[in-house]
Amino acid sequence: MTAIALRMRRSFDLKNRRNRQRLIANTIGLFILVFMIFPVYWMVATAFKPPRDILRFDPKWIPSPFTLDNFDDAVHRPYFWDNVKNSVIIVGVVVVLSLVVGFLAALAIARFSFYGRRAFIVVIIGVQMIPATALIIPLYILLARANQVDRLTGVIITYLTFVLPFTVWTLRGFIMGIPRDLEEAAMVDGCTRFGAFMRILLPLIAPGLVATSVFAFVLAWNEFIFAYVLLSSQEHQTLTVWLASFTTSRGTAYGPLMAAATLTSLPVVIFFALVQRKVAFGLTAGAVRG
């Protein structure tokens, strides 16, 4: 066989192999999905079970009888909607600011070389090694002095501090995966440096932006101890702190808790479902050679 014919044959085999691979991957993927999602399924199922069926010697796999009482109970608990509003505000600001500020800093350390770059990288890594619980008291003292206790802004700035090093570090990795040639090609065509960053680089690292924004979202949405310590009034607290109020000295109301948890986990899932198409944004064909 000629080389060309061999290649064509291999190409054809490749397509068959691709389809087979896809089938196998889909099957294995289904198994993985079932295993990973089982605890989440249990949470959602529990939310629909009457309290009597929640803990049983012989487990009930499917909620029957099916009830919406737990959701009703959860939503009517005091301060639910206030806490939803607070969580949404905090998350919105933290996600946007961390992406913007983090991207700029990641640009600096990934694309420029300057005095102090290595020190900054060490700081970024080092800061993440500080155990968060050690910072509870000193952070409270600092924010109290700045009159930021019981304020959403105090919590926002705290979460930004936790999220930024991570965002900078991760976006740097994604930026490093994009060759400089693309930006340089754009600049040769008359684009400013900054323009090249915004128009060429930013879209190409969309997957990294999605990953870091979901991370920031989840952290800001689900974080407990700092929200609990820094926010005192009930009307200023977040949903996660509200979840903790389901536990009294007489035990926990598991049905309503699981209903509440199901509700609080949905926004993240919806957010991701909206942006997930951006996760896999590969380089378009021809961009490298063009």
């Binding site: 487990p59 890594i125 700035i157 995966g177």
Partner: protein
């Protein structure tokens, strides 16, 4: 902290600086200032929020700082006493060893499963891929307290679904089995929870990195006769190495500091053989109310992590310079 870029890696830098020079001195100054401007907001936040707390933490680690001192806002200087107490305590070194082993196991399992899942995601059909991605994110989005409660139920002595299933499948008799009786099996459950919770982020991020690998390169290699493993090693991995390194380094840092899973799983009262370093630090500060001791433990934790990762971090910085 050297200033000049290394000769071997500065080809691109040199090329760029030529262009810079050709655009004039003004542009040169602007570029010299630009990185600092880009960094300014981040540095402002980090320094503004963390500088004083870190100083406070460092200071009280050298003091006797109990509840009375907390209320009076003033501690008594005792020099290296707290550090001597920690480092001279055999229990402490057991805890360090336990934390290290825990970290290695968790990071290993997380990276292994996440990479496999990411590779699977690339090859899946669209519908299954979205389903798995959304499923993973839902796992990620579940509040930690709730997730741990569910896992507690799954392995409960009386009501555990997992125990029930294993017994029914005749793999082992786990009726009335208390997983937390023995810290080894207890940590097996805790590891399962940690890895389960860590996989979504790692898998999705590695998948995002994999998706940036140009398909033409992969196809070209396959058409040239390379087996899948070779394609991975020669084509795919080098391109996603930065992401890989980042996820691994983050996993190490996070798993070393695991707190919630141990704390909540054991009903806020873990027995000493379940202590990890972060749990030990918390108990010293807030339970025993020896905040100075707790601060010293935290400082030792950071120093341990920094020194262990020193070589690794240097390598990571060098990798980035080679790639540039």
């Amino acid at each position: 902290m050297s200033v000049a870029p290394r000769a071997a890696t500065s080809a691109a830098d040199l090329g760029l600086s030529d262009r810079r020079r050709s655009r004039g001195l003004r542009a040169g100054i602007r570029d010299n200032v630009t990185p600092y401007l880009l960094l300014l907001p981040t540095i402002a936040v980090l320094v503004g929020v963390l500088a004083w707390p870190l100083y406070w933490l460092g200071r009280i680690s050298f003091e006797h700082f109990g509840l009375e001192e907390l209320i009076a806002h003033k501690g008594t200087w005792t020099g290296l006493d707290n550090y001597r107490e920690i480092l001279g305590n055999r229990e402490f070194w057991h805890i360090v060893l336990r934390t290290v082993v825990f970290t290695v196991v968790n990071v290993g399992l997380t990276m292994l499963f996440s990479t496999l899942i990411a590779l699977l995601l690339v090859r899946m059909g669209r519908f299954m891929r979205v389903a798995l991605l959304v499923g993973l994110v839902w796992v990620w989005a579940t509040p930690v307290v709730v997730a741990i409660t569910i896992w507690q139920w799954m392995v409960d002595f009386q009501f555990g679904v997992f125990n029930w299933a294993i017994t029914k499948l005749h793999i082992a008799n786990l009726v009335h089995y208390n997983w937390f009786d023995n810290s080894l099996t207890g940590f097996a459950v805790i590891t399962a929870v940690v890895v389960w919770g860590a996989i979504p982020f790692a898998a999705i991020t590695i998948y995002a990195g994999l998706s940036q690998v140009p398909q033409e390169l992969v196809e070209a290699a396959e058409v040239d006769g390379a087996r899948p493993w070779q394609v991975f090693r020669r084509v795919t991995f080098p391109l996603v190495k930065p992401i890989f390194v980042i996820i691994t380094s983050l996993s190490i840092i996070w798993d070393f500091q695991v707190f919630n899973q141990v704390w909540i799983m054991l009903e806020n009262r873990p027995s000493p053989d379940y202590y990890l370093l972060s749990v030990f630090a918390f108990v010293s500060s807030f339970r025993v109310s020896q905040y100075g001791l707790g601060a010293a433990i935290s400082v030792v934790m950071v120093l341990l992590m920094l020194s262990v990762s020193f070589v690794y971090v240097r390598q990571m910085i060098q990798i980035s310079e080679v790639d540039q």
